[in-house]
Amino acid sequence: MNLMGLFRSPQNELEKGGSEEAGITNTCPHCGALLPLSEQWENLNVCSACGYHFRIGPRERIAYLTDENTFLELDGNLKSKDFLNFPGYDQKLRNAKLASREKEGVVCGEAKICGEPCALFFMDPNFMIGSMGTVVGEKITRLFEYALARSLPVVGFTVSGGARMQEGILSLMQMAKTSGALRKHSDGGNFYLTVLTDPTTGGVTASFAMDGDIIMAEPGATVGFAGARVIEQTIRKKLPQGFQTAEFLLEHGFVDLIVPRSEQKETIAKLLRLHKRGNA
C-alpha cells in the first residue's frame, strides 16, 4: 500500500507548496515539535511528542480501521446540487472536491473490523469541514436503512463545522431525516457507535453524533453545539481553555470514552463483539 499517497494532511508542508523531498517535516500546531512527515504518517497522523491528533479524511480512517480489502463503498456517486442557486455554492463544491478528492462530505460503506462486520460512515474534514447538506444526510440515512435491513451495527465518525447553509432549510431537515433512520435502526435492536472527531459541532452534534448507544471521542477533539466564537459573542467574554473539548464532554457526562487513534480499531472491535447478536 502506498502510504505516502494515502495519508495526507491538509496542514502539511506539501500542501503549502513546499519542497517535495523526502525528509520533509511538519510542525505540530499544538506543541510545535518538528515531525518528519514519514514518521507522522506511520504514527496515524498523531504527534509523537504530544499526542495531538491531526485531522484526517475518510480514506485514512478506512486504512487504519478496517480489515484489508473488506471496505465496500455505498452510494459513492451521490453528488450535491445547487438547488437554491446559492451564490458561490457551485464553486465551493468544486473546491471541496479538489481539497478532499471526494464527491461529498461523507463516505459510507460496509467493512470488517478485526473480523466483525459493520456499516460505517466517515465525515470528511476536507470537504467543507463535513458540513451537512442533503447528500450527506441522504447517504447517512441510506446507510442506516442498509444496516437495519442486514442487522448490522453502525460505526460513525463525525466531523462537522455545521449546516450546509447553501442548501437552506433542507439542510436543517437532514437532522430530522437522519434521526428517523437511526431511530428505526435502534428500534430494530441494532448497535450504533459514534466517534466524535475534530470538530463536531452544530446540527450534527444536535442529531446523530449524540445519539450513539455508545459515544466515543478522539483526544482533544472540539465538540459542541454552538461555535466558540458565537458563544463568546453571546456572553461577551473569552471561553476558558479546554472548553468544548472531548475531555470537557467526558467530564460533563456526555461522552462514554476517549480513545486515541492507535487504539481505536481494537476498542471498536471489542465493542462490536460485545454487541454481537444471537450468541450471548
Binding site: 447553501q166 437552506g168 431525516k177 428517523g180 449524540m210 445519539d211 458563544i231
Partner: protein, 254 residues
C-alpha cells in the same frame, strides 16, 4: 415584500408570542414546570389544556413581551432544560394518549456556557430521536422565528404549519452573511438566498399549510382551533404504526 422584511416582521415588536396563541386557542391551559433534572426553563412553556373538549399537551416557546419578561425568558432562546421539559411532557402525552401541539418561536437554542456544559446538542438530538417515535399525533406551528436546530427540536411533527409572516431557517441571515461573505451588510441578500419565508416552506414541502395573517389574532386563533381539532382527530384515528411510518416518510423525502 422582501425576505428580510419578513424576518423583521417575524421578530417584530408587538408580534403575538407563544402564550397568546395558547390562551386564545385552548381552554383551561394549566402550566406544568420543570425537566425533573436541573431546572425549569421559562423560554419553553408546557402544560395541559383542552381543545374543543379533547385533552392535549401544549408546548410553546415564549419570548416574552416586555423587557423584564423578555429577560426572564431569555428572549425565547431555550437552554437544554427547556428541551428536556418538552420531552418529558411529550412522553407523558404518549402515555396518556393525548396529542401534542407545539408552537415554535425562537431565534435559536441558547449559545451560552451553561447550555454547552449541560449538553445543548444532546438535548436537541434526543428530542429529534424521540419525536420520530412518539406514538401520539404531533402538530407544530411556526408562529414567528424558526431558528435552526433549536426550532426543529419542537418541529418533528406529523403536520407543520407556518404563519404567513413567520420564517424558518437553518441560520439567521446575519450569521449567514458574516460567515459566508464576512459582511454583515449583506443580510438582505442572505435572507433572499436562504429561502426562509412561509412561501418558500410551502414550495419546498417543509410545511403543509400557510396560515394567512390578514386578520386579528382572535380570528386567526378561532380558525386554528377548528383546523387543529379536525387534523388531530384525523391523525388520532390512524393506527400508531401508520402514524409513525407517515411521520418517517414526511422527513425521509428531504
Amino acid at each position: 415584500m422582501g425576505a428580510y422584511d419578513k424576518v423583521l416582521l417575524a421578530r417584530g415588536k408587538g408580534r403575538a408570542t407563544g402564550l397568546s396563541y395558547v390562551n386564545n386557542i385552548f381552554e383551561d391551559f394549566l402550566e406544568l414546570h420543570g425537566d425533573r433534572r436541573f431546572a425549569d426553563d421559562p423560554a419553553i412553556v408546557g402544560g395541559l389544556a383542552t381543545l374543543s373538549g379533547m385533552p392535549v399537551t401544549v408546548i410553546a416557546m415564549e419570548k416574552g413581551s416586555e423587557t423584564k419578561e423578555k429577560v426572564r425568558r431569555n428572549f425565547g432562546s431555550p437552554n437544554p432544560e427547556g428541551y428536556r421539559k418538552s420531552l418529558r411532557l411529550m412522553k407523558q402525552a404518549e402515555k396518556f394518549h393525548r396529542p401534542v401541539v407545539c408552537f415554535v418561536d425562537t431565534s435559536g437554542a441558547f449559545c451560552g456556557m451553561g447550555a454547552e456544559e449541560r449538553g445543548q446538542g444532546q438535548a436537541i438530538a434526543e428530542n429529534l430521536f424521540e419525536m420520530m417515535d412518539l406514538k401520539t399525533p404531533i402538530i407544530s406551528l411556526l408562529i414567528g422565528e424558526g431558528g435552526s436546530g433549536g426550532a426543529l427540536a419542537l418541529a418533528v411533527a406529523d403536520r407543520v404549519w407556518i404563519l404567513e409572516n413567520a420564517v424558518y431557517s437553518v441560520i439567521s441571515p446575519e450569521g449567514c452573511a458574516s460567515i459566508l461573505w464576512k459582511d454583515a451588510k449583506k443580510v438582505k441578500e442572505a435572507a433572499e438566498c436562504l429561502a426562509l419565508t412561509a412561501e418558500d416552506m410551502k414550495r419546498l414541502e417543509v410545511v403543509e399549510r400557510v396560515i394567512p395573517e390578514d386578520r386579528d389574532l382572535e380570528t386567526i386563533c378561532q380558525e386554528l382551533r377548528t383546523q387543529l381539532s379536525e387534523e388531530l382527530s384525523a391523525l388520532s384515528a390512524l393506527p400508531p404504526e401508520t402514524l409513525l411510518e407517515n411521520r418517517y416518510q414526511r422527513f425521509r423525502k428531504f
